[in-house]
Symmetry: C2
Amino acid sequence: MEGGNESQYEGQFFENYLRLRSKPDNFNDLLEFPAFTALLPDLEGRTVLDLGCGFGPHAKYYVEQGARHVTGVDISEKMLEHARKVNNDLRIEYVRCDIADPAIIDLGRHDIVCSSLTIHYIEDLTALFTNIAQVLDSGSVFLFSMEHPIATANNDEGRTNNLTDGYMLKHYSEEGIRQGEWIGAPITKYHHKFMTVMNSLIEAGFIIDKVMEPMPSKRLMKKVPRMKKQVNRPSYLIVRALRR
Amino acid sequence: MEGGNESQYEGQFFENYLRLRSKPDNFNDLLEFPAFTALLPDLEGRTVLDLGCGFGPHAKYYVEQGARHVTGVDISEKMLEHARKVNNDLRIEYVRCDIADPAIIDLGRHDIVCSSLTIHYIEDLTALFTNIAQVLDSGSVFLFSMEHPIATANNDEGRTNNLTDGYMLKHYSEEGIRQGEWIGAPITKYHHKFMTVMNSLIEAGFIIDKVMEPMPSKRLMKKVPRMKKQVNRPSYLIVRALRR
């Protein structure tokens, strides 16, 4: 979910995040969620591992789509407490764990692994993807979304996002940590180039099956004008990969 | 090679292109060529189809690396005439053909297909890649480079390239034709999003094996200061794919 390490949940972040997500015009619900769920395989009777589950909206959706069991993993106990309240279901188990920790392998085999907007908080993608490959059988789906490499390149997101005539891209080739501010709290992300996302998957034993850079429809841009900036610069990268 | 349809070779373009490529600090030789050739499989005794061969520098390199036969294809007779002069070899056959024409299938099976900086002149990537898949056996390599999607997005390349503090990205999500000027001549390119390059390969029956966004070394940036702009915005995308 949005927001990397536990410390990022201190102070105002948690409340601000919930406030943001409760707005009817938030990008997650309008842009990322529809594009992400459109790439899901049939979940009927399957087990799903949801890495970075946040307060559980995706996990809840998976069981609604017929998943037999969903393991929702998040680093934030605060987020998980809220998930157990607002997205509680007998078929969902919420577990506290840093998804970068190899301990996720101990969560055991799953039919599908999903991760929505969490991977841009992880520094070593090859290590993460290699751990994920351990819990999947050959041919199984790993579906994830992340902040787009074009979007994570800059340190000065806030400022550049205010540009209406385009997006000032900087530091694209300089991968690594990005210290910024988001919804009124300091936040740590990692910028990865396209090539690193693709090559880390391949090296970890995945076959790239589909790549998406979701764009708002004309109708959605009319409804939410600030989405027009997406035409110049996509916010999200979504990848469906198959375990080799 | 650089420069799409035959008409783009009229007037000054051809001479200007050769002048550009003869400069010791041209990006093709310093940045694209080393990154591209580093991804080549062993060419010893193999046959290579070089799509958009231009005046043949890659074709010549392939035979020097042991290729048994190279078929160099280009749309420009002018370019091929020059290739037969400066990169002539008994093992290289230069053929005039538009690489977007399904006629390339009639060139027959090859062990490897290469294409250096030509694919951004092609509108329909799925059609092109599907034709290329026809001349390759399962497991064979298709290696190509193209102008990076971040670089082709804008119409006003010339202006934005003058920005030293960053690259103003615009119209990324609006795929299609880009009319611009390059080395003193009008030029037509097509902007394809990263997702389109990847998905077109997958749909055409390829497995993505390696993705590169070549960056100049610190040494090279010191030698050629204008290369520092690459840190903000990569010029090239290189992909190695395997026939499924």
